[in-house]
């Protein structure tokens, strides 16, 4: 398996196949992050595709001193926020469901139902109770294993803010899990 750096250079040289291979490595991660962030399958899918469209277009401007994964997640986060805004606007104009209802996955597929049965429903509910920013920090640090310094860059906030969000999330999760038990 080729290293990311090698693929990035090839892709920047105009190799479309290399770019596709590179992005496909992070496809599930990006979708998982956006699903956690937006709480809606359709919004997450749209944001994922838009993330890759922007990544394809912006790959020529990517500089090697940045961590590629962080660069990609930064684009994904911006697209997720844009998708959420759009969704909120649509709901406001159409008088649709509230944001809290949106956070619950509205249309789970068969695979989704299977996964939901497997995973702890309590933990899922507890994660949904977090704020969007807290959920992002938890997901990026614990699921994607991205260091706090990179998370701060992705979320465009100071390092201390990212860490304090993690601690607030930890407290909330602990309280919710204990209450459920």
């Amino acid at each position: 398996m080729q290293a990311d750096k090698h693929l990035i250079r090839q892709a920047q040289g105009g190799d479309k196949q290399a770019a596709e291979t590179l992005f496909r490595r992070y496809q599930d991660n990006i979708f998982g992050f956006l699903l956690r962030m937006t709480g809606n399958r359709d919004v997450a899918a749209d944001a994922t595709q838009e993330t890759f469209v922007r990544s394809f277009k912006g790959l020529s401007g990517y500089k090697e001193q940045n961590v590629f994964k962080s660069w990609l997640f930064r684009i994904a986060r911006n697209e997720g926020l844009r998708g959420l805004k759009k969704r909120t606007r649509m709901d406001a104009s159409g008088g649709g469901e509230a944001m809290t209802e949106l956070m619950a996955d509205s249309s789970p597929g068969p695979g989704e139902i299977y996964e939901q049965r497997q995973m702890s429903a309590v933990l899922e509910d507890a994660l949904k109770a977090l704020t969007n920013e807290e959920r992002q920090v938890v997901h990026l640090r614990l699921k994607e294993d991205i260091p706090f310094r990179e998370i701060a860059k992705i979320m465009d906030c100071p390092l201390n803010t990212a860490i304090s969000r993690m601690h607030v999330a930890k407290k909330k999760l602990t309280c919710l899990m204990v209450r459920e038990d």
Binding site: E20, R24, F52, V53, N160
Partner: protein, 180 residues
């Protein structure tokens, strides 16, 4: 060392230098609160990491790649595609057509300055035309008079002149006689 939640979190995250990590470890040996904090972080890590990784429902990368490669259509593709494929262009074309139909008479009407200038030109042209036609008529009359001689009138005219001359000569002679 006092409790530093930021340093403790970075220690748990593995983002500290060896020296900093040693300092934290020394502090942890003494501080039960920080040990509790670290244990909670590790527990949360295990709990959340254990949740299954979501898989993308379709190949977003291929879709995005097609979208990027497609780019802007060529002129031929643009023409060959049905108008429905370009709703924005269609809307603009429709608006332009409606505007042309509504504003058509306005476009035909010449501006005021053109009206004034065309009026002046027309007047000048009319004057010139009158002059030319008069000149033509005069020339025709001249030509007609020169080409066709009315002999009867000419004879009458000459007879009158002769009579007048006779009368004058008679009166002159008369006067002469008196003077003499």
């Amino acid at each position: 060392m006092n409790c530093d939640i930021t340093m403790l979190t970075l220690y748990w995250s593995g983002e500290l230098s060896e020296q900093e990590a040693l300092q934290i470890e020394e502090h942890l040996a003494e501080c039960a609160t920080c040990r509790q904090e670290l244990a909670e972080l590790r527990a949360m890590d295990e709990m959340v990491t254990g949740t299954p990784q979501r898989t993308a429902p379709c190949d977003f990368v291929s879709m995005a790649s097609c979208h990027v490669t497609k780019g802007r259509p060529s002129v031929l593709q643009f023409i060959c595609k049905p108008a429905v494929a370009y709703p924005a262009v269609g809307a603009i074309a429709m608006a332009a057509a409606v505007l042309i139909v509504i504003m058509g008479p306005w476009f035909n009407k010449p501006p005021a300055i053109t009206v004034a200038s065309s009026h002046a030109t027309r007047q000048t042209a009319m004057a010139l035309y009158t002059k030319v036609s008069n000149a033509n008529r005069y020339a025709t009359a001249q030509r007609a008079s020169s080409s066709r001689t009315n002999f009867r009138a000419r004879t009458g005219y000459l007879t009158k002149r002769i009579q007048l001359a006779k009368r004058r000569s008679f009166s002159r002679s008369k006067t002469y006689r008196i003077e003499r």
